[in-house]
């Protein structure tokens, strides 16, 4: 049994191998649910739970899954987790589940979940797979929260719904940037994050 460096399993997906900025997975939902920090935060938590638990469950089942239907089996497991999260949000965090609307359901199609199951959980023991899933979810969530921070601050002048930019600024002629609310600006912000990250980590730059 090969030794697993738990530190690397946990930290790599957050910075050096971030699923959004390095692997460029899960872009769609990071554009859609980053208008407000609150929504982004709950979305991040939901994705962490889903990636972690589905990697864990698939890893437990990995030796029994028939190879020909393995993608379908993975999908069933991911869908199960997503629906559980959706139902629980609807019951206990109704207003947030309303703002996230369809995007919770769309975690099923989030490339990170399936990507980590295929790449890691199918070949590793349950505990490292769980950690890998959680860490990748967290890496995704981190980017989500960074983007949402700027979008909510510049687009609505609030953070977590609390007004940050004082009324006197508005009286003096300051206006919220409506473009930041729209998805194209989220993509530009994401591009900026990728740029900043690559200027620090030179080994990520392509020649």
């Amino acid at each position: 049994m090969k030794d697993i460096n738990y530190k690397e399993v946990l930290l790599k997906p957050i910075f050096k191998g971030n699923p959004v900025t390095v692997l460029v997975l899960g872009i769609c939902s990071s554009l859609a649910v980053t208008v407000q920090l609150k929504g982004a935060f709950v979305m991040a938590l939901s994705v962490i739970v889903v990636t972690g638990l589905s990697s864990f469950v698939v890893s437990i089942m990995r030796n029994s899954i028939p190879n020909r239907i393995r993608i379908i089996v993975q999908l069933v497991v991911v869908a199960l987790m997503v629906i559980l999260v959706d139902q629980i949000l609807k019951a206990y965090a109704y207003s947030i589940s309303k703002t996230l609307s369809v995007y919770v359901g769309l975690i099923i199609t989030n490339c990170i979940v399936m990507g980590r199951i295929e790449a890691y959980a199918l070949g590793n023991r349950p505990i490292p797979s769980l950690l890998d899933g959680l860490a990748n979810g967290a890496g995704y969530g981190l980017i989500l929260i960074i983007v949402a921070f700027f979008r909510e601050l510049l687009g609505s002048g609030t953070l977590f719904g609390v007004r940050i930019i004082p009324q006197s600024f508005y009286d003096a002629g300051y206006m919220d940037n409506g473009l930041v609310i729209l998805p194209p600006m989220a993509l530009i912000l994401l591009g900026l994050i990728v740029w900043i990250q690559r200027s620090f980590q030179k080994d990520l730059q392509e020649k």
Binding site: Q87, K90, Y92
Partner: protein, 286 residues
């Protein structure tokens, strides 16, 4: 064991799917009550928020005991048909707040389908029957001594249904407040119908008596009480909302007119009796 055989694959997938279905069914059933409760509380909050806008001193936020406030302020909640006749009553939860009945969005959709059929039909006997089959909800509140009638509206937005509640003064025309919601309009554009700057612009407007009872159109509309400014960048959502309010308000007219006339009648009666009393007093003094 051969995990690639056909029999194994079929058995494996069957067992997996049945297992997952069982888990989901169990979770859905155990959480269903809580979820329905959430939806109901949201509807009650909307209805109450629309009514509460009639009084600036009343505010509703996340800490408000919505159910308690609803039962304290509601006077009557019932259904009317297209001729203004009362067809049934809703439980107002006076004994137990858990029993409060409010129409769900699917109830509103059903009524909306009938309303659309009515405006589409040319056959007058069929139309009359459809009018009778309507069950339009009406909520009457007493907000600090002021009588406010709340009626819903429903329409098809850009991406999904939009609906809302409009609060009317006792004349059945003047809008005291309004609130809207949507299933999935574009955030930042159509979704703005659910935000304060838009819905507060309804206050002080009034239903017209002509063919167009209400409209949402671009422009300032000063001196045009039956029209509010639309949201720029959300033309379809705005128009849909205008159409929805117009369609619903039109079919509430028979009830609203009747209620307003009755109200005016009782007030006039009260004055008459007062006059007669005064006259009788004058007689005795003589």
């Amino acid at each position: 064991m051969n995990t690639n055989g056909n029999t194994y694959t079929v058995i494996y997938s069957t067992v997996l799917v049945i297992l997952v279905a069982a888990i989901l069914a169990f979770v859905a059933m155990s959480l269903q009550d809580k979820q329905n409760e959430n939806v109901k509380i949201e509807t009650i909050t909307k209805v109450l928020t629309a009514a509460a806008q009639s009084d600036e001193n009343v505010s509703i936020d996340e800490t408000t005991d919505v159910l308690g406030m609803y039962t304290d302020n509601i006077v009557d909640a019932f259904y009317v048909d297209g001729n203004g006749e009362v067809t049934g009553h809703m439980n107002m939860g006076k004994e137990n707040v858990k029993d409060i009945q409010v129409p769900s969005t699917s109830d509103l959709k059903k009524q909306n389908d009938i309303l659309k059929k009515i405006s589409g039909s040319k056959d007058s006997t069929g139309q009359a029957e459809l009018l009778k089959s309507l069950n339009l909800p009406v909520f009457v509140f007493d907000i600090n001594g002021k009588e406010v009638t709340v009626i819903p509206c429903y329409g098809a937005g850009l991406w999904g249904p939009i609906w809302g509640y409009v609060a009317l003064a006792s004349d059945g025309r003047t809008i005291e407040g309004a609130i809207f919601d949507h299933k999935g309009e574009t955030p930042g554009l159509g979704a703005k119908i659910a935000e304060a700057p838009f819905y507060t612009s309804f206050r002080g407007k009034a239903f017209g008596s002509g063919d167009v009872v209400f409209a949402v159109e671009k422009g300032k509309h000063e001196g045009e009480p039956e029209c509010v400014d639309a949201i720029s960048g959300a033309t379809i959502t705005s128009q849909a909302l205008g159409k929805g309010i117009n369609l619903w308000a039109k079919h509430y007219q028979p009830y609203l007119n009747k209620a307003a006339a009755e109200k005016a009648g009782t007030e006039a009666d009260a004055e008459d009796t007062a006059d007669m009393d005064a006259a009788a007093d004058a007689e005795t003094i003589k």
